[in-house]
Amino acid sequence: MDDFLIRALLAGLGVAVVAGPYGCFVLWRRMAYFGETLAHTSLFGVALGFFFEVDVILGMIVAVALAALVLGFAQRDKRIGSDAILGILASLTLAAGIIVVSAAGTVRLDLFAFLFGDILAVRIVDLYAIYGAAAAALAALAWFWRKMLAATLHDELARIDGVRVDAINLLLMLLLALVIAVSGRMVGILLVVALLVIPAATARRFAKTPEQMAFMAALAGALAVAGGLWGSFRWDIPTGPSMVVAAGLFCILAWMVPRRRAA
C-alpha cells in the first residue's frame, strides 16, 4: 500500500477512535445540530486565520470555542428556540466563511478540500496533531466520565449530587469543538457531524451500557473509515463522502438486524 494511503488510514482511525465516544455524547445530549454549527464555524475560523495571517488550526479552534460560548449565552433567552439559534449561526458562519475565503482567492485555500475533506493529503506532522488531540480529548473524557454521564443523564440529580454541571457542560462543549476541528480536516466540515453521529447511532443498536456504546461507536467508525478508503481507492470516488456512505450503510444494516427482545 502506498504511503499516503497508510497515513490516510492512520489519520482516519485516530479520528474514528475519538469521534466514537464524543459522538455518543452528541446523541445523548441531542446536540447534532450543535455539532453542525460548530463545524460550519470552523470554516469561518480558518478563513479568518488566513485573513489575519495566523495559524489556520488556531483560527479554527478559536472560532469554534467562541461559537460554543455565544451559543451558551444565546440559549438562555427562550424566545427563540435553540434549533433556530443554531440554524442562524450555522448558516451565517458558513456564508461569512465562504465570502472571506473567496475574497482571499482560491489559490490560497482549496474550498472543496475544506468542505469535503482532504485526507489523502495528510502528512506525518498532521498525524501527530490528530493523535495528540485525540489522546488529550480521550484522556479528559476518561477522567470525567462518570460526572459527564451524570450531568448528561439528568442535570438536577447531578447538581444535587455535587457535580459542577455548568463546568462539565462547558468542558464537554470545548472538547467537542476540538474533536470537530480535528476531524473536519478528514471528511470536510459539511460531513464531519456524520462521523460523530452515525457510528454512535450504529452502536446504540447493540450497546447495553454507555461504555459499550462508546467502544462500539469507535469500532463502527474505524470500520467506516477503512471501508470508505477502500471504496474510494477501488472506485475512484471522493474519500470523505465515501467514508460517510460506508458509515451510513453499516448503520442501516445494524438497525435492520431483527430484535430478539426489547433493547
Binding site: R30, L149, H154, R159, D161, V163, T209, P210, A263
Partner: protein, 258 residues
C-alpha cells in the same frame, strides 16, 4: 435534644415568573431528625419551594441557606430519562457519587427491586422507577432526604409501607426529611411539622395524635397507624384566584392583591 442542627432553611423566599407570583415570603426550616410535611393544593408552589431550598432554582427575593457539605438525597416528583443512553438500573445507581457494588445491591434489595438490576432503566414500571430513585437517594447516605409526592400513584397499603420505611430511615440515620404530600388532610403520622402552602404559608402545626378509635381503624385498617389527620388552622380564606381575604371579613368584597 429532639432535633439536631438546622440542615436547610428558607427565609422570606419569594418567587415570581413571567409576572405570576408563585411564592410569597415563605419561611421553611428543617433540622436533623425533623420530619417536615409540606402540603397544599396543586399549583401552590410546593415543588418550586423545594427546588429553591435545594438550590436548583434561585428565589426572586429572600434567603436560602444549607449547611455546607450537606449530603442530600432527592426524589423528584417527575423524572424523564432520555432513551438515547443505554442504562441498566444498576448502572443508573452507579452514576451516584457514593457507593460501590455492594452498597448498590444492598440498596436495591432494601427497596425490593433487586430483580430489575439488569433491566434498562427506561423499561421499568413507574413504581419500580420510583423505588429506584429512592435507592439512589439512599446511596448518597443523606443527611437530608427530600421527596416530592413520593406516595403519588400508590395505594393506601403501599403508602403506609412507604411512610413506615421513611420513618424508620429517619430514626436509624438521624436525617432530616422534607416530604411534599399531595393530600391536603392526611399526612405521615410520624410528621413533626406540617406546613400548609398556598403560595404563602397558610398555617403550620402538628398532625392530630394518631386516633385509636375503633371506627377510624375500621375505616382505614392497620395502615392507618402510619397516617394521621392534620387539622388546618387558617385565619384567612382564598378566593378562586388564590387571593387572600381575612376570614371574618364578611362585608369586604374587594380583593387584596398580595
Amino acid at each position: 435534644m429532639k432535633y439536631g442542627e438546622v440542615l436547610a432553611a428558607a427565609h422570606g423566599v419569594s418567587f415570581a415568573e413571567g409576572g405570576t407570583s408563585i411564592l410569597e415570603r415563605v419561611d421553611l426550616a428543617v433540622r436533623a431528625r425533623e420530619l417536615v410535611s409540606l402540603i397544599g393544593p396543586n399549583g401552590s408552589g410546593k415543588t418550586t419551594l423545594v427546588r429553591i431550598l435545594l438550590g436548583l432554582a434561585k428565589p426572586t427575593s429572600g434567603k436560602v441557606e444549607r449547611r455546607p457539605g450537606l449530603r442530600i438525597g432527592y426524589v423528584p416528583q417527575r423524572l424523564a430519562i432520555d432513551r438515547a443512553m443505554p442504562l441498566t438500573a444498576e448502572r443508573f445507581l452507579a452514576l451516584a457519587p457514593r457507593g460501590g457494588a455492594a452498597e448498590r445491591r444492598a440498596a436495591l434489595a432494601e427497596l425490593g427491586i433487586a430483580h430489575i438490576a439488569g433491566r434498562a432503566v427506561q423499561a421499568v414500571s413507574g413504581g419500580e422507577f420510583q423505588r429506584l430513585l429512592l435507592a439512589r437517594a439512599l446511596l448518597a447516605e443523606p443527611e437530608l432526604l427530600v421527596m416530592d409526592e413520593p406516595a403519588q400513584g400508590i395505594d393506601v397499603a403501599g403508602q403506609a409501607e412507604l411512610y413506615h420505611w421513611i420513618a424508620t430511615l429517619r430514626d436509624k440515620r438521624g436525617c432530616g426529611v422534607v416530604l411534599v404530600s399531595h393530600d391536603l388532610h392526611l399526612v405521615m403520622a410520624a410528621t413533626d411539622t406540617v406546613i400548609c402552602l398556598n403560595h404563602h404559608v397558610c398555617c403550620t402545626g402538628q398532625p392530630e395524635a394518631v386516633a385509636r378509635h375503633p371506627e377510624y381503624l375500621a375505616l382505614f385498617g392497620p395502615a392507618s397507624q402510619e397516617i394521621a389527620v392534620y387539622a388546618h388552622k387558617h385565619d384567612h380564606v382564598h378566593d378562586a384566584a388564590g387571593h387572600v381575604h381575612a376570614e371574618d371579613d364578611h362585608t369586604h368584597d374587594q380583593h387584596h392583591a398580595r
